[in-house]
Each structure stands twice: as C-alpha cells, then as structure tokens.
Symmetry: C2
Subunit: 308 residues, 2 copies
C-alpha cells in the first residue's frame, strides 16, 4: 500500500532553464493526486514515468501563476490522448473561469468531464473522501487566499493472526471480515473474540502540504503530528526580511513549524531562484529539525506502514 | 546586422519529457521577436541565453493551447524581474481576455505596459513597422483562424565607395547621408553622382513563418521568394491521411510549398510526438526541396547579408 510524495518541481516564482515551478504528486494506494501544477508539470510527469491517466484529482493551493499555469497544458494533453474518465479539480474560485476561457477561444470541448470544486478558503474543510483516504484543506497566510492540505489514510482493518487462523477454518467465511472490523463473532454458542484472533492494523499514515505562507500559528493544529510535512522554505536566514514583504518563509521557520507541530519528517522546497543551490536551506533547517530533506526534482519520499 | 531564426521548441500538440511546444525567436538587428509561446518557452529562453528583456514583440499565430500557453508564465516572470519597458503582443482576438483573467485572479497588475494588438485574420496586413523592418500577417488554413507572418528588412542605404571617399572630404558632412540615400549632391557648381560615389546596398532579407495549416495555395503569394521559410511538417507520408482531419501538413507538402514559392531555404518543424526522430521527415522533404533543415531545439539559422 504505497504512500509516496514525488517532487516534479519546487522553484518559487519563475522557473530556470532546469528547475520547474511548483508541482508534486502523491501516490496513495496507486491513486495519483497532483498537488499544484506549475508550467511544464506535464513534461515532468512524462520524465518521471508517472501514469498520467491515473491522476483523477488535482489540488491547487492558490492562483499565483507559478502554482497552476501548467494545468491547461495537461488538460489539453488529456484531450489529445482521448481521456474519457472524469477529472476532479479542487481550487480557489476563479480557476474554472481561467480554464474555460482558454477552451472557448481554442474552439475545443474536453473529451472527458472536468469537475471544478471550489475550495473553502476560510476554514478547515474535508474536500475528498474515498474508501481509504480523507483530504482536508485549511487556510495559510499568503498575499492572496491560499490553502494547505492534509491527507489522512482511513483506519485500516485488523489482520487475522496467522498463528490462530486454523481455529477459524470450520466457521462460515464471514467470520474473517467481522473479526477484522473489531467485532466478536458468535457461532454455535461460542464467542470468538476479535482481540484474540486478530492483530492491530498498521497505523494510518498522514501527510501535510503547506506552501506559500508566512510562518503562522494559524495552521499548526491542522498538521499536528503528521508523518511527513512538506513546508515551503523560499529563503535562507540571509533574506529573512523578505518573508514579510512576500508572505513566504525561511528554511529555519519551516523547521520551527515542523518542530512545533511535532511532525516526524520535514521536506522543504519552493526555493527562490536567487540561490545557486539549497545546501544553506538544508543546513539552517536541520539545526532546528534534523530530519529535514530537500524537495529536489525527481525525488520520491515514501511513508512506510508501521504497526500501532 | 543579424537576421537569425532560433528554435526553442517545435513539438506539435503536446510536449514530451524533452521536446517543447511551438516557440521560436527571431533576432533581427538585435531586436528579439518571439514567435508563438508554448508551455515552457521561458525555460528555453533561459537555456539558450536569449536576453529576454530585449524581446519587445510577441506574435501568436492562433489560440490552440500549444502555441500560447507559455505566455502567462513569461509575462509573470517579467513582473518578477521588474520589467518597465512595454511589450507588444500580436494575437487573434481572445488572447487579451485569457491573459487578463489570470492577472485578475492572481490579484496582480503588470509592472510594465502590455499592449495587445488584435490580428486581422482575414487578409494580408502590415502589423509591425520599425525603422528597419516590416512584419506582415496573412491567413493560412487551419481548424481555427490562424495566421502566418512575413518579415522583411527595409531597403538598406547605399555604401560610400571607400576608394573614392577622399574626393568627398572637403565637402560638408551631409554629403554622405545624401549620397547613401541615392541622391546626387551639388556643391560649388559641381555634381557628385551617387551612382559613382556609392556602392549598392546589401539585399533586404526576408523570412516567412507558416505553422498549423493544410497545404494551400492561399498563402503562397505572401511567401514568394523569401530567403528562409519555416513551414510546419507535422506528419510523414505514412500519415498523410491525417492532414485533412487535423488541418496539418506533411514534410513533403512543406517542401512542395517551398518549391512552388521558390524560397531559398526551408526549415521544417512542428513535429507530431508519434515519431521517435524526424529523419523520415527530412528525407521526404529533401526529395522535393534539397535545401531543407530540421527545426531542432537550440538550432540557430542565420540569413547572411548578400549584395544585390
């Protein structure tokens, strides 16, 4: 059961010849979710072999150009590839108008349904629920309305204890599903206790995605204790004074957020193109939060399953 | 005096991991003109070291996504770089709405004036005139309205014959400009004939750009005899039947146009991503028009100055 975060691009504002703007993929149980879609995101999807037809959900944090302008290209490519499966786009109000005006002037109609879901930019809201996953959005503190996202696996079923499975073999098949769901099973006046016959399930995994924000207590409660946090880290300490002007964070501030929210692992990205490399970002963040890693293009970060 | 055509991207429809969509630069006398602006065009501008602040004119052939969706990213980057010089965009009706709706939702105002010039999509029209250059647009035959462009250097001045320049030294300085402009000069009852004292100027150079069209006689008169023609060549002979469905051309048809219009040199591009390489395109075109070259990313094609 995968739970993987993949970096397509993590450049802030403008791209360079090699560094792409914000675009990330979550692969959760082989369902692919695209997080932001900067210019050229589709080229990075091709480059890193992401099965683009398995992307059914696209989440856009906010409507600054570097976070969504690759979307029209991807939607157009789906048309060329004759996609018929619907796609769901979760974004601030306005994105639908931006996309539709481009289809209109191209004289095109998408070959597949596009569902636009307008995000609530003011409070924590559940935006997606599947049989195995819940996704929440919550406001962060940027120049324009901007959301972060929390991804939470639903509780897994308990596992039948393989050492005792032989004692269940004479029972009707339904016994397994009932015990796995933490219910005792009764048969011919005997009780089979789920706590005896099953083992605890793996822990539900959590991932939070926070980009384009001032460091702020506002959103800490929504990301508390997550297994992995992506947090923007546009600047190093040297340019800390730019954070209040641009509503961005330093690597150190991202690490402080990671520490305060007691997350297990921190990925930093959304780096300003003024830096030649991001080693200073990494060093400054690790002084506060040692388990920090850089969002380098093509990198994949897996959250392993763990027993409770 | 440069006259150079530079390939940023020449992929048809969608990009691949490495091949960018339509985007080309003309460098005429160190004035840079961007022709189409597919996704990621700005990254290619950075990669090939084009001085992006020297681009003052952007021409968009038509409003299919692969020909303009990199524009909003470039305009946004100009903002980040605090451009103040105006930029002029020549495009079909609709592009202004597409761009303005994106600025609106981003809560941004450009730091520089953007002038949108709506192209006449029905007839040959002069769209740009500078002291040294004229640019014309003319309709081609695509699924939606689409224009080609012709670039023509204005007549150069004649050159003073260096072997006779000593005979002019005692005259007022104005003599040089008058003779260069093909006028005789009179001084103290003597006539200095421009034909004697000057040499013919270099020939005015011409370049035509034709993409996204069925092969059609419609536009041949506008590109007659140009020094260099870029013509789309989406398909090889193998897929010729797709041309009428998609309103595109084969490499052979591009070569036939080059031959019929008696151009001097042909560049073919806008290749479908179904092909692994474009050697078959080149072979099929050269059977008709030997002086054909492939529009490969990063390639630069110079038109040399030549005496009349």
């Amino acid at each position: 059961m995968n739970f993987e975060f993949i970096i397509l691009g993590s450049s802030s504002g403008r791209p360079t010849a090699d560094l792409y703007q914000s675009a990330y993929v979550l692969n959760i149980h082989n369902n692919y979710i695209l997080l932001d879609c900067g210019e050229g995101a589709q080229m990075q999807l091709f480059k890193y072999g992401i099965p683009i037809m398995k992307i059914n959900h696209i989440l856009i944090t906010h409507l600054h150009a570097d976070h969504f302008i690759g979307l029209i290209g991807l939607l157009n490519t789906y048309n060329l590839l004759k996609r018929d499966k619907p796609i769901h786009i979760y974004a601030p109000k306005g994105l639908e108008e931006i996309i539709q005006v481009q289809f209109k002037h191209a004289g095109k109609v998408a070959s597949y349904p596009i569902y636009f879901h307008e995000l609530n930019m003011n409070q924590n809201t559940k935006v997606i629920e599947t049989p195995t996953l819940e996704v929440y959005s919550f406001p962060v503190n940027h120049r324009i309305e901007c959301n972060g996202f929390l991804f939470r696996e639903k509780a897994h079923l308990r596992n039948i204890n393989p050492e005792l499975v032989s004692e269940l073999k004479h029972l009707p098949n339904e016994v397994y599903q009932i015990l796995k769901r933490s219910k005792d099973y009764e048969f011919e006046n005997r009780i089979y206790e789920y706590e005896k016959y099953t083992l605890p399930p793996p822990k539900s995994r959590t991932f939070a995605f926070v980009t384009d924000t001032l460091k702020d207590n506002l959103y800490i409660k929504h990301i508390q204790g997550v297994d992995m946090l992506f947090h923007e880290a546009t600047f190093t300490d040297e340019h800390e004074e730019l954070t209040t002007e641009t509503f961005h964070s330093t690597a150190r501030q991202a690490a402080e957020i990671g520490q305060e929210a007691q997350v297990k692992k921190l990925i930093i990205g959304h780096f300003s193109t003024r830096y030649k490399d991001f080693e200073t970002h990494l060093k400054e963040a690790r002084e506060i939060f040692p388990n920090t890693f850089l969002a380098e293009q093509g990198k994949r970060f897996e959250i392993q399953t763990a027993q409770v």
